[in-house]
């Protein structure tokens, strides 16, 4: 083949890859742009301190949904983080290669891959139907199931990065395994583990599907964890699909709050981890 043709083709392909990358980023800026533009005009202090107004009425806020999301993410973290981190410790420190640990890793992958709405179904049939009503606890539980495999994966990666010589130094000093894990390995990997945990929190705080029939939603304040509770994503969904213009505005404002939360968590996690690697 002619050299000029080859060079021309090379340049063309490189151009195509750049264009593909630009196309891929259009929706990102499209979504962010519209959320910021429409969200800001609807966002005010009332949004953060007031309850939702009645259908179609102007004003009102999503205070209860913001608090509801925080509560359920907290419940999910309280359950998901210990289970995830301890499992990862088992997989890296006690048993890396047996069929059992391979099976647990497989289960982790399966749990990562199943659609989040499935988690909602399971918690509905197993918890909500048994208790007889929707609740913040059921919602938090559903989110924790989504969180666990994410935490296992990220923690495992971080623990694997801890060099073997540090472990061996501990053994050489005659320190027990428990102390090595708790005092040496975990502190060494702490930053990475926290990074992973923040990304997991960012991920579950935007989840809608598993909350639809576990936490349900609530136009008012939930008085206990045993009651249906509002959350930002569910509220956004309900408002976006309603026919009222005022509610659409609220949905944009809610999205701006939700996206800010997600972006801040992602940025902080990434910057913290970068500074460690440098």
């Amino acid at each position: 083949m002619n050299d000029r043709v080859r060079k021309y083709r090379n340049r063309m392909m490189m151009g195509i890859f750049i264009v593909a990358t630009l196309i891929a980023l259009i929706p990102l800026f499209g979504v962010l742009g519209y959320v910021v533009k429409n969200g800001f005009s609807a966002l005010n202090i009332e949004f953060f301190i007031n309850l939702p107004k009645a259908m179609g009425a102007t004003g009102g806020g999503m205070a209860n949904a913001i608090v509801g999301t925080l509560i359920m993410v907290l419940i999910a973290s309280v359950i998901g983080m210990p289970v995830g981190i301890l499992t990862a410790i088992y997989l890296t420190e006690y048993d890396r290669t047996s069929w059992f640990s391979i099976l647990v890793r497989f289960a982790t992958d399966v749990l990562t891959g199943i659609p989040s709405i499935i988690v909602g179904i399971v918690i509905y049939t197993a918890v909500v139907l048994k208790i007889g009503h929707f609740s913040a606890l059921a919602g938090g539980l559903a989110l924790s199931i989504i969180m666990i495999p994410l935490i296992i994966r990220s923690t495992e990666e971080m623990l694997k990065l801890v060099s073997h010589s540090i472990r061996e130094a501990g053994y050489a000093l005659g320190i027990s395994k428990r102390i090595i894990i708790l005092r040496i390995i975990l502190p060494t990997a702490a930053k990475g583990i926290i990074t992973g945990a923040m990304l997991a929190v960012a991920r579950v705080s935007g989840e809608t599907a598993p909350l639809l029939f576990t936490a349900l939603g609530n136009q008012y304040w939930a008085r206990s964890l045993n009651e249906p509770i509002a959350s930002l994503p569910v509220q956004i969904y309900q408002y976006a699909t309603s026919p009222y213009k005022e509610w659409h505005q609220q949905a944009w404002a809610g999205s701006l709050v939700l996206i800010s939360l997600v972006v801040i968590l992602n940025l902080t996690a990434r910057l913290a981890f970068r500074s460690r690697n440098n």
């Binding site: 080859r6 090379n10 890859f17 750049i18 264009v19 593909a20 990358t21 196309i23 891929a24 980023l25 929706p27 990102l28 979504v31 959320v35 289970v83 301890l86 499992t87 410790i89 006690y94 059992f100 099976l103 647990v104 289960a107 992958d109 399966v110 749990l111 891959g113 199943i114 659609p115 989040s116 709405i117 499935i118 988690v119 179904i121 399971v122 049939t125 666990i148 495999p149 296992i152 428990r178 708790l182 960012a202 705080s205 935007g206 989840e207 809608t208 599907a209 639809l212 029939f213 349900l216 994503p233 956004i236 976006a240 699909t241 949905a251 944009w252 999205s255 939700l258 997600v262 990434r270």
Partner: protein, 313 residues
């Protein structure tokens, strides 16, 4: 060390060991329990309808008639459409990041692509309703109908809400998955491969085509399958954009319904046990498909990422 102290140390050691083991077992139990819970709740529907559940076209809760074909159709068409769009673009992004971009640009673009994956599904849905759908209805669909109207896929009233909207939003959502996994396996291709091609006088594109892509092929396929798994189970954005009508129509402009969407919409309205059971069975089918896809995909990615390294890892 005194005997007593040694004893407490080993008790502490065992405590941590068994605590972590217990958690690891609980993860395994969680997976099995979820599968069983789904199967158990779906059993009335499985026993009543058998195989006809999958082939039945009629979904009529009032007549206690449940056939899931329209939902399976909607899920498959939107997911395949998403794959068709996202695979080439995602591959392009992966090649740009791995083979072309200078390191500063790579960090920024990689972060932006990850943000694409971090945006919550419901926000995509909101954007879809108020930006994507009007654009499809007023510009894209009339345009497609004008130029390609002879193809049945592009006939009918441009409604905006429908298979095309669902497929497009899914493409955006699975693109980061495909780009990330493809990038990962490309990074696992040994540099000697690339250098050998370059030493033979290959241009950069020829190097990618000859040395990188064949090597990463099965891993890329794995990434595409993981993307498909995500598309099949994606709920909120599709529910908000697909139109939610259980019909099987050829046109991409037509409203349809997906498996996840019917669960999201009707679950809390299922007034009797068989209705609920039928919805759970749809979930069970989704669960089964995504499980199989994930297993295959992980195996493919694992075989590539593991393979070329060789030696000590």
């Amino acid at each position: 060390m005194s005997k007593k102290k040694k004893l407490t140390a080993s008790v502490g050691d065992n405590a941590l060991r068994y605590l972590t083991l217990l958690m690891a077992i609980s993860v395994l139990v969680l997976m099995v329990w979820m599968g069983w819970q789904m199967f158990d709740s779906a059993r009335p529907s499985i026993e009543k309808f058998g195989f006809s559940f999958i082939t039945g076209r009629e979904w009529d809760p009032v007549k206690e008639q449940f056939g899931a074909l329209p939902f399976i159709y909607g899920t498959l068409v939107t997911s395949l459409l998403a794959l068709l769009i996202a695979t080439p673009i995602g591959l392009g992004v992966a090649i740009f990041l791995n083979e072309m971009a200078p390191s500063k640009a790579r960090i920024v673009v990689a972060f932006l692509v990850e943000m694409l994956a971090a945006i919550p599904s419901v926000v995509y849905g909101l954007w879809g309703i108020f930006v994507l759908v009007p654009w499809l209805r007023e510009t894209v669909e009339p345009g497609l109908a004008k130029w390609f109207g002879f193809i049945p896929l592009f006939q009918g009233t441009p409604l905006g809400f429908g298979l095309l909207a669902g497929g497009l939003i899914l493409a955006v959502m699975i693109l980061p998955t495909i780009a990330a996994i493809s990038g990962e396996v490309m990074a696992a291709v040994p540099n000697e491969q690339r250098e050998a091609a370059l030493a033979l006088g290959a241009t950069k594109w020829e190097m990618i085509r000859i040395a990188v892509l064949p090597y990463a092929k099965s891993g890329i396929l794995g990434g595409v399958m993981l993307g498909l798994g995500r598309a099949l189970g994606e709920t909120m954005a599709v529910t908000m954009l697909i139109g939610n009508r259980p019909d099987i129509l050829t046109s991409l402009f037509a409203p349809a319904y997906s498996m996840a969407a019917v669960i999201a919409n009707e679950f809390t309205e299922a007034t009797y046990d068989l209705y609920l059971s039928a919805l759970v069975e749809i979930g069970l089918i989704l669960f089964g498909i995504t499980l199989i896809l994930n297993v295959f995909a992980r195996l493919l990615v694992w075989s590539v990422a593991r393979g070329p390294k060789g030696g000590i890892s």
